[in-house]
Structure formats: structure tokens, C-alpha cells
């Protein structure tokens, strides 16, 4: 009897140790990536790096200002497209859960979330780039917006569904019309959840490369025109990392570092924002 209990205890300890060990293992890839990229990239970052466009082949120096500005513009435009549509769709889904429209559109949202990013890029190429006759930042934004929307929609829907019905009832019983109930009560109360969904969706698309390959295409010069091709950080990394020039490799490392920092900061601030703005229901 004693021996059996001892074997059981041993099994239990072994199991616990394996679980803890594997949990630690998860952090290793992240740490390796962080350490390596920081090591390679942090030395590249200086004022010159941030404010100049890449130098022509062969010349030393240069920077990634066109990619920085380009990323910011493309992401901003995607957000302007995806956030309103996504929030409204999320509101509709949470308010009318039983309808056929909700069922089928929810299905479409889930499927869209699973569409490979390169396929999205190709589709937008045929829809926007070909008719316009040129690669453009706006087509890149459209592609990225299509990837952002499912996340915004689902997180808005989940946040609002968690709000108790009594909140809506209280507002309605005061004679508040429906649109004001949504705008002035439901959305403010669910604000932290909606905001964190938005920030997560931005973090998701800021590093997407494939959709931009045939839409924004890239641009060696600093451009702010949305109907012309535009450079962005992932595109720059893709193009320059596989080039044969060392200068360009350095730029790619620096850009990787910037991208990584951006995603890290976005994720951490999402957590902070959620904690600060979270309304105790």
C-alpha cells in the first residue's frame, strides 16, 4: 500500500514539474527573439536613422523615415475604415443575437478572420489596384482594414454582451431613446473592452506584410500621397533583409527593432488601459 502511494506521489510531482518546465519553455522563443533583435537593431536607431530615407545602393547611412511615416499613414487609414464599421457591426450583433442576419454575418466574420493575409492582398489587388491602375496606400489600408475588422467586431460584440441587460433597462425606463442608450450608456460602459479590442487589432496588422505586397507595394521615397505606392516597415524589412547589401541589412534590423518595440508598447498599453478604464459593473 505504501509503495503504491509513493509511486502516485512521484507521478504527481513529475507531472507538475513537466507542466512548470513547459511553461518556462514558452517564454524562451520570445526572449530569444527580443534579445537577438534588440542586439542587432538598437545600435541602428538614432536621429539620422529616423529622419532620412534609405540611401541609394552603395551609399552608407540612410534611414527608414519613409517606412515609419508610411506605416503610420496606412495603419491610421485602416483604423478609420475598420473601427467605425467594426464597432457598428459589433453593436448590431450584440443587440440582435437571434436574427438570421446576425447568424450569417457572424459566420462571415469568423471565416474572414481565417482568410490567409496574402489572399486578402490578392483580392484587394484585383478590386482596387487594377481599377485604379496603380499601387496605392489606400489599397493597402483597405486590405489591412479587412483583417482588422473581425477582431474589432468580435471584441465589441463580446464586451457589450457582458454588460447586464439591467443597464439598458434603466436607461430605457427614463425615456431615453434607443440610439442614445447605445451611444451614451452602453458604449461608455463597455469602453475599456472596446478600446482594448481596437488596440489589439492595430497590433495585429501593424506588422502584416503579405497584404501590402501587391497593394501598397513600397516606395523608396517619403510619400504622403494615398493614391501612390507607399513604404511601410514590414515591406522594408522584407525587401531589404533579403537584399545582398549590408547597409540595407542594417536598415532592416533597425526597422525590425522599431516594429517590435511598437507592437510591445501597444500590447502593454492595452493591458494598462484596460485596467485603468475598466468600469466596475
Amino acid at each position: 500500500m505504501d509503495a503504491r502511494i509513493r509511486i502516485r506521489n512521484t507521478k504527481s510531482i513529475v507531472f507538475k514539474s513537466v507542466v512548470v518546465f513547459l511553461a518556462f519553455m514558452i517564454t524562451i522563443p520570445l526572449i530569444v527573439i527580443l534579445v537577438y533583435i534588440i542586439k542587432q537593431g538598437v545600435m541602428q536607431v538614432n536621429w539620422h536613422f529616423l529622419t532620412n530615407v534609405p540611401a541609394p545602393v552603395g551609399e552608407p547611412g540612410g534611414g527608414i523615415s519613409n517606412a515609419l511615416v508610411g506605416s503610420i499613414i496606412i495603419v491610421a487609414m485602416s483604423s478609420m475604415i475598420a473601427i467605425p464599421i467594426g464597432m457598428l457591426a459589433g453593436i448590431y450583433l450584440s443587440e440582435n443575437p437571434g436574427t438570421r442576419l446576425a447568424h450569417y454575418s457572424g459566420l462571415c466574420v469568423d471565416i474572414l478572420q481565417g482568410v490567409p493575409s496574402i489572399v486578402v492582398g490578392i483580392v484587394v489587388y484585383f478590386w482596387v489596384v487594377k481599377p485604379l491602375g496603380t499601387f496605392s496606400a489606400i489599397s493597402g489600408s483597405i486590405a489591412l482594414a479587412m483583417m482588422m475588422m473581425p477582431i474589432v467586431i468580435r471584441s465589441t460584440e463580446q464586451t457589450l454582451k457582458l454588460l447586464p441587460d439591467t443597464l439598458k433597462e434603466a436607461a430605457l425606463s427614463l425615456g431615453v431613446p434607443y440610439h442614445r442608450v447605445i451611444l451614451k450608456v452602453i458604449i461608455p460602459c463597455g469602453f475599456s473592452g472596446i478600446l482594448s479590442g481596437i488596440m489589439l487589432s492595430v497590433a495585429r496588422i501593424v506588422g502584416e506584410t503579405a497584404p501590402l505586397l501587391f497593394t501598397a507595394f513600397g516606395n523608396p521615397y517619403l510619400s504622403t500621397s494615398i493614391t501612390k505606392p507607399m513604404q511601410s516597415l514590414p515591406l522594408l524589412i522584407f525587401n531589404y533583409a533579403t537584399s545582398p547589401y549590408d547597409d540595407w541589412h542594417n536598415l532592416a534590423w533597425g526597422a525590425s527593432f522599431m516594429l517590435l518595440m511598437f507592437v510591445l508598447i501597444l500590447n502593454i498599453s492595452t493591458k494598462l488601459v484596460t485596467r485603468k478604464w475598466n468600469i466596475q459593473l
Binding site: L167, L174, V176, P177, V181, Q280
Partner: protein, 252 residues
Amino acid sequence: MEHSVVSATKFNAWFGDNHAVKDVSIRIDKNQVIAVMGPSGCGKTTFLRCINRMHELIPGTRTEGSLKLYDDEIYTMNPIYVRYKIGMVFQRPNPFPNLSIYDNVIAGYKLNGLKMTKADMNAIVEKSLTSAALWNEVKDSLHKKGTFLSGGQQQRLCIARAIAMEPEVILFDEPTSALDPISTSSIETLFHELKANYTLIIVTHNMQQAARVSDKTAFFYLGELVEFDNTKQMFTAPKDVRTQNYITGRFS
């Protein structure tokens, strides 16, 4: 003849195919506390929610018959206006968690975009909180959010919020069932004070509460209004045997 505040004549309400309220006729007079009691599923809450047109917000519902506020048919009036005149307090206290106590009380005005001067708003907030017996406890923390209030205080805040709209009638849907006995008792005392200015209609599961607080009691059973009489009469010698069975606990 006394002008009734709320009167129903052969009023019916459905949830889809479920005939929840059957041919109810009742006349409720001003400045009285009316208790509405009955077993679960008897239609009392449905009837209450028809009075301020909250029932129709659920899909698949419909109503028939006459339901009047003074001389006006409630179902032909603008529902927003109906809800200004007939306020409601719910079972679980539900102050708006993103608003301060001050903003909660005047939420009816703010959320509706009704403009008022600061002085007017202050006056309404003080008057409503005083009527709800909450002023002294919160007057120094009006701009804090109401999360530190106890359940009974939160419910009184909800009552103040309803009173701020200066309704004619206040509906209560089992207002103390989520509260402890001391909070319950303070709210029952409040009912006695409120009836001077408003007409109160209270749905309750708690018969003793109905006996303690109301002037008249209505007993609903299986969607019908079985008996409506002075509370004293109802609890000493009810006229219908179903009422007697319910009150004496012969069936739940």
C-alpha cells in the same frame, strides 16, 4: 368621482403565443400605494411593464385593450413621454456605473439631452436625493461614482433617479428582493413618505411586505386579476377562495 391615475379596461398582453395578461380591468387612484402580488408566472410583472411600455421592447410581444394614464391612452401616446410620466425601479439596483452619483440622479435629463442651468440641476439633485432619504449620506460625495454605496443606498439612488423626472406614477418591480432586511425596511418607510407626492405600484413576491406597505392590493393568478381590494380587507377576509389560498400559503 375620484379621477383614476392609471386605469385598465379589458387589457391583454401576449409573449408570442403565451397569453400572459388576460382581460385585466383595474382603477388605481392618486397618491396611493398599490401592491400587486401573485405566484410566479401570474402576469403581475408583465402587467407592470405594460404600464410604462417596457413590455413592447421584447420582440414578439403584443397588447390589446385600454390602458390609460388619466384620460390618455398609454398605447397611443409617445412612449418616451409615457416613460417620463411613469418611472420605474427595478429588482436589482442598477445605477449607471460610469456616472457619478450627481450624474446618476439627473441621468434622465442628461441622457436625453435636455438642457438645464447648473442651479436647476443642483436643485433637482438635492430635492430628489432628499425625497429618497439619501441626501445626508451622499451630499459630500456627489461627484464620486456610486460603487461604494450599499445595496439599499444604491436602490435609493435609483429611486432618486426616477423621482428626478417628476413622474406621476412610480412602478416598482420587486424592489427589495435583492436587499437585506434593514435596507428593505428603510425602503418600505420611504414608500410611506413617497405616496404624498406620487402614486406607487409595487410588484412583490413578499406578502408580508404587501400587507405592511400598501393601501390596496391586487392579486393576480394565471394572468387574471382575481381580487383588488383594500389591503386590510384582503388580509383579514379576502373575498375569493384563490386569494385566501395564496395568502395562507396553501399554494405557492
